[in-house]
Symmetry: C2
Subunit: 388 residues, 2 copies
């Protein structure tokens, strides 16, 4: 087992009607002037916004910032930063899904940053976020696990850029996770959420056989549970299904699964480029790339594909048969959720994107990826081409 | 799924040679005058003590307190409290297993407590530990999970008392977990450690069928892994076995498994009395009580025993057969580790202890226990008698 460090201080407040605990959670944080950040306004339609305002009552000053889009956009977030600075906000509530929460992580770091925050995203030398304005989340969409981790992804459309950030100061102080929100979501978002959680788990599990027997089994626990509750896309008001889905999405990316094991993340790195170029939903890009990447890396991943096939799908046969079936079953699972797994299912203008993505990676100096650092630019090109 | 809150801020520093990170961990905590608390001196024999002193260097003032015994004793701990107050200690390092760490939790709470700290242990009205002196741990024995939680058990022999305490201020700031220490331990302690972790998991799992599919699978992951690595008792220098054992013990009691599910803990409550009366090792008391308790509660626990038998032991047959075999296999697992499962294996003077323990519970006003609160004093008597 590889050495690791693990710390996750976020307070998770999980279950029905937990919004009523918001005032005490804010008091614990000594909040006084709060910015509520949200997305396209669905929280106003569902009544969540009113619930938040009612829960907060008169004890705190409140400003609001709406309009954070999926794949939160740098320009939009900078407007929130300006508002927060102007209003001298001392706590931020992210009421939304992964995009809103990721956006708030950026906002909370940028508020106190002296220079150009994009320099931090580009990892320019000497550019790092320091102290962050503390924030909590009210989760409206189980998917990214952003409510229980300290990482974020921010986009900048005009330069086709999607960049990651993070640091120990970016753990939410608290996250209110009410599975009841699942019932308010359209099927596409639910399917995306399940795939997101599923592929997050695979990125940390489907690598090489490791000595970490426990984390491997914990990953299999999440994969098996997600499959078992996947009917939530058709029955989102089913609390048993919804609550397990929400918990799986958190456990998939709360930092535990990566402890002591190699991780992959190549599917995410390539997938991000598909979102940047075509605006394909994040989870859809994962469903497109992951089966083709596993086929491309078949020999390297075979041993783990066999373990995955046996333990999660109960497959039997030769190693080659089990490994191939495990990829097939994974892709069928995505189809079963109603998510298509080819680039051509989403756009007609994909010719040459293989070349373009490869060049983007080379330009950035990222010449290798995957758990053995053995996916090179030409491999990326082949994987993207195989995904047409 | 039941509502729950979860927060665990302890920083886990896991792996080989992690002791070298101690100075930076202490700096993060702004420690200046440190008390190193330990047990019977094994850390001096194994070289760990010298390693700690060397790692700390000249950057911090150090006082030491040795002699914290298994089932840490109130009187001993109060001496440490006096020393810490006299020396104005601002950080405590617990270098040991669960007993030392539990002892340090009490010490760190008692230092700043104005009244008689035993009143807190007895849960007298209005008596609660407030701010605690911060502490970190250097784990020498995987077993209790105390290195990753905020609970502790303290004994007071003269009144045959074993009491629990806890609170959010009692999470270690950091825990250095080096599986290399496993190689320094005698077989009895290793076997005890595995049983402790195993029964901690059962207490939170082997209850009723729940809607929490994920936590159930995560519990099964720990149980299966502990069985898989149990040969560590014969091969403690095997790092793969040792590291998984250490990680399982932490995950068994880091607060995750209890989220959203009913818990039992009756085996622990009854077992504590066997330690208080006969000085039987904690884990041995669990191995004695748990099979008999499951037999006594057979009908109530049957559905979960079946799930446990199928998923952890791969059993087949009728529900009754699987459930009975699951108990048998559990007891055989304890025997396989070299741990006996009858009170009479440990003491000859057990006659009447069933009555005595039942009366103790009644005196304390604890008249019911178990996940359905349906184990009554007469049940406790029957369970203890069946364990003779």
């Amino acid at each position: 087992m590889e050495n690791f460090e693990f710390r996750n201080p976020t307070k998770i407040v999980f279950g029905k009607d937990q919004l009523e605990k918001l005032p005490e959670l804010l008091q614990e944080q000594n909040a006084s002037k709060i910015m509520i950040a949200f997305g396209g306004g669905s929280i106003k339609r569902t009544g969540l916004y009113d619930g938040i305002i009612k829960a907060i009552g008169d004890s705190f000053e409140v400003v609001e910032f709406g309009g954070i889009e999926p794949n939160p956009e740098y320009r939009t977030l900078m407007k929130a930063v300006e508002l927060a600075r102007r209003e001298d906000v001392d706590f931020v509530i992210a009421a939304g899904g992964g995009s809103v929460i990721d956006g708030v992580k950026f906002i909370s770091g940028a508020i106190k940053y002296q220079g150009d925050p994009w320099d931090v995203m580009e990892k320019k030398e000497g550019c790092e976020f320091g102290e962050a304005v503390p924030f909590g989340t009210i989760l409206t969409l189980p998917a990214t696990g952003s409510e229980v981790n300290s990482g974020a992804v921010v986009s900048r459309k005009e330069i086709h850029a999607k960049r990651v950030m993070g640091g120990p100061q970016f753990f939410p102080k608290f996250s209110i996770c009410d599975p009841g929100v699942v019932a308010t979501l359209p099927k596409r978002q639910l399917a995306n959420g399940i795939i997101d959680a599923y592929v997050h788990t695979l990125e940390q599990y489907l690598t090489l056989p490791t000595d970490n027997l426990l984390q491997e089994r914990e990953a299999e626990a999440i994969l098996s549970t997600l499959i078992e509750v996947s009917d939530v896309v058709n029955d989102p008001a089913n609390y048993k299904l919804a609550s397990n889905f929400m918990l799986c999405a958190s456990h998939a990316l709360n930092g535990n699964l990566r402890c002591g094991v190699p991780t992959d993340w190549a599917t995410h790195m390539i997938g991000h480029e598909l979102t940047a170029h075509f605006g394909i939903d994040h989870a859809q890009t994962l469903a497109i790339i992951c089966p083709r990447l596993y086929e491309h890396e078949f020999d390297k991943k075979k041993a783990k594909l066999v373990q995955y096939g046996q333990r999660v799908f109960g497959l039997t046969g030769s190693d080659d048969e089990i490994a191939a079936s495990a990829i097939k079953r994974t892709e069928e699972f995505f189809h079963h959720l109603g998510v298509k797994t080819r680039i051509s299912d989403y756009t007609e203008s994909y010719e040459g994107i293989d070349q373009k993505i490869m060049e983007t990676f080379i330009e950035r100096g990222w010449t290798e990826m995957g758990e053995t650092k053995s996916i090179f630019p030409e491999d990326v090109q082949e994987i993207v081409q195989a995904s047409y």
